[in-house]
Symmetry: C2
Subunit: 406 residues, 2 copies
């Protein structure tokens, strides 16, 4: 019959297996990030190529297709490594079904590219097709983040997912802007869509910041070029004014947006490397702990006076207590990790609380969504609290807020 200590060691081994699974996921996420980046570039170039009737970016697009294909093969190679037979992948059902969607969409890429080359679809249709594939790839990243059992790794994955999603909105903005400038005109609907893409980026980058440690945030801060951001805002302002746009600005828009996105790529590379090293160090740590635990149990057994006839209590009462302490300590530690993991998940839910608090401030104080968000952020900074705590306080103290009847 298996003893309590054998379950103790089995628990530790499971923990290592789960971490190894996460390490494999982090490699998968890394190659997906590269593939998405390549697809984002290809999308932008395809857009200008189509919007300009083939006059621009013909050569660059061809080169980018080769780069995208290269990145795609790396992703497919990682998909191949997924254990679809052994059921060792934590949330296999959901992950594999996401992978199925992606593989299927990848199979359709050659046909999509042929249609772009032959001007057989509009710039917008092409952009949407790329966006769909990228959204499928991001869903794979989301499943990887959702399957994480280690709170620190889970936090890093959630931060990375939000960063990638924010970067994708930036990529969609680049494509949308490129289409608008290249076509020489902008509709009010496009202005609205553009604004939505900018707001979505802000929300994702805020979530990224909430889940990141100071080291990551410093890298992010250092990557941002004020000159590029100012130039981007200037071009956004020109487009937002609506009406006729100078087609000569297309290249400039594309390059400015690309400078910003390429800077994001540097942060993304840092995030994926950070994630992989986090997995490795957690695995090394867990292995050391397993080794120590084994040695400790071995020593305890050696010091045991004599095995009991029934074989149920092979250690003396004092050694019994040592083992009990080990068993309880491990259960407590895993419980604490579980609670922390739950709180990372809860924070994802808590983002809804922030939305509700924003709504309340908008109603109470007649603020715009953006102003309400900034007010919450300001309160959080002033009170040195997390955004969600301030949002909760706003909701529960709604009655003492000045002004505005509902």
């Amino acid at each position: 019959m298996k003893s309590g200590t054998s379950f103790l060691l089995a628990a530790r081994q499971c923990e290592i297996a789960e971490l190894e699974q996460l390490a494999q996921s982090s490699v998968l996420v890394t190659v997906i990030a590269r593939f998405i980046h390549a697809l984002q570039r290809e999308r932008g170039m395809s857009n200008i190529y189509l919007s300009s009737g083939g006059a621009r970016f013909s050569q660059q697009r061809a080169e980018q297709v080769a780069a995208s294909t290269h990145a795609e093969l790396a992703v497919r190679a990682e998909f191949e490594k997924l254990d679809t037979e052994g059921f060792r992948v934590r949330n296999g059902a959901r992950l594999f079904s996401r992978v199925a969607v992606v593989v299927h969409a990848c199979d359709g890429l050659p046909a999509l590219r042929a249609r772009v080359a032959n001007h057989a679809l509009s710039a917008e249709e092409a952009a949407n097709a790329f966006a769909k594939l990228i959204s499928g790839l991001l869903a794979v990243v989301y499943e990887a983040a959702d399957a994480a059992t280690d709170p620190e790794i889970s936090r890093a994955l959630v931060a990375l997912f939000n960063f990638m999603q924010g970067k994708e909105y930036a990529g969609q903005e680049r494509a949308l802007g490129a289409r608008a400038f290249a076509s020489g005109a902008i509709e009010p609907g496009t202005v609205q869509q553009w604004r939505h893409l900018v707001e979505s980026q802000d929300a994702n980058f805020q979530a990224f910041a909430d889940f990141s440690d100071p080291q990551v945030l410093r890298v992010h801060q250092a990557s941002r070029s004020v000159a590029v951001l100012e130039e981007l805002d200037k071009l956004r302002g020109i487009a937002r004014a609506g009406g006729v746009l100078d087609t000569e600005l297309t290249q400039h828009w594309y390059e400015t947006a690309s400078q910003r996105i390429d800077a994001m790529k540097v942060v993304e590379d840092f995030l994926t490397a950070h994630l992989r090293s986090l997995c490795e160090s957690r695995i090394a740590q867990a292995r050391t702990e397993l080794h120590d635990q084994r040695a400790q149990l071995h020593e305890l057994a050696a010091r045991a006076p004599q095995p009991d006839a029934a074989g149920t209590t092979p250690y003396g009462p004092q050694l019994e207590r040592s083992i009990l302490a080990m068993v309880q300590e491990q259960a407590r530690r895993l419980q604490a990790m579980g609670d922390e993991l739950e709180s990372v998940r809860a924070t994802l839910n808590e983002r809804k609380v922030v939305e509700r608090a924003k709504g309340l401030l908008m109603a109470h104080r007649g603020l715009s969504e953006d102003e309400a968000y900034k007010a919450l952020r300001q309160m959080a900074m002033n009170q040195n609290k997390r955004l969600v705590d301030v949002a909760n306080a706003v909701l529960s103290l709604a009655d003492v807020l000045p002004g505005g009847a509902r």
Copy 2:
């Protein structure tokens, strides 16, 4: 290279494997429920035995020890079946570490019983030792509930866990009451502890009701004997009055509390059987769907005009679309299941919202905790809403609540 459809089928197979894992967990949970019930009886008898200086329940206790040991062996046999080598158990690390605690505590049962037989410990110490083992067993059930990937099964497990936890508080109340009546006196501290046990039961049974379907609730309703509950409340009232207690009421208290707990056992048996049949029907359903999906893919492949040279798109464009629809449908279905699962988990978190709303009502209206809870329940019933929705409404509409300044 694996195709999109092979990942599609792998996802389905994972789903079946996860359900089979849950079916195994539901058997484990069933034998744990039986073991806990036996331990609860043994605890109650040990309490009276010790409190009465060995005058009462000597024979019954000896018989109950045999029954407990029998139930323990069934649990240990299920522990043996756990796959500690293959890492197929979803949250192995946490589950095995809980099992380690339980196995260790079970190893200590013979020594505990010897001390009870020799009056070498107080009734309270004995009760605490049993409560600790039961709490360890409930932690195993909690991990099983936490690992569920199917929302319906997850809900059934959460309901069962809360029912078992509520029943355990009822068992602790029985033991506490038995000690109090047998000793002939009650301290204010004990009255306080008693009240806490009753409130904890109410909270757990409320959670059980929130997660249960009408069929289960009817069984629960039918199991409750008004006569027994009234008698129990009468005895609780006598004890709550404090001071000297009639030791002759010990047996009567024990039997009345036992009648209630034995009725709970009937519901518990129904819940575990319900859970097992739920797992079986979900497995059968998933197998049928896998079979249908395979047949459908086979048919599509047979209708394919001819394989493409590159081998990437073996189906014609129309068949392509059929497969795309299948792939997307499955991803959507699993997404919906994931969202629902998330909402079951969120509801567990939302219980905290109810606590906060209660606090608000207590502050605003000067209600006691119990009155605040009843007020929320009444609002929920009147508005035909869930308790948590009412609690959320109370929190966000705090400013329109009548009376009470903060």
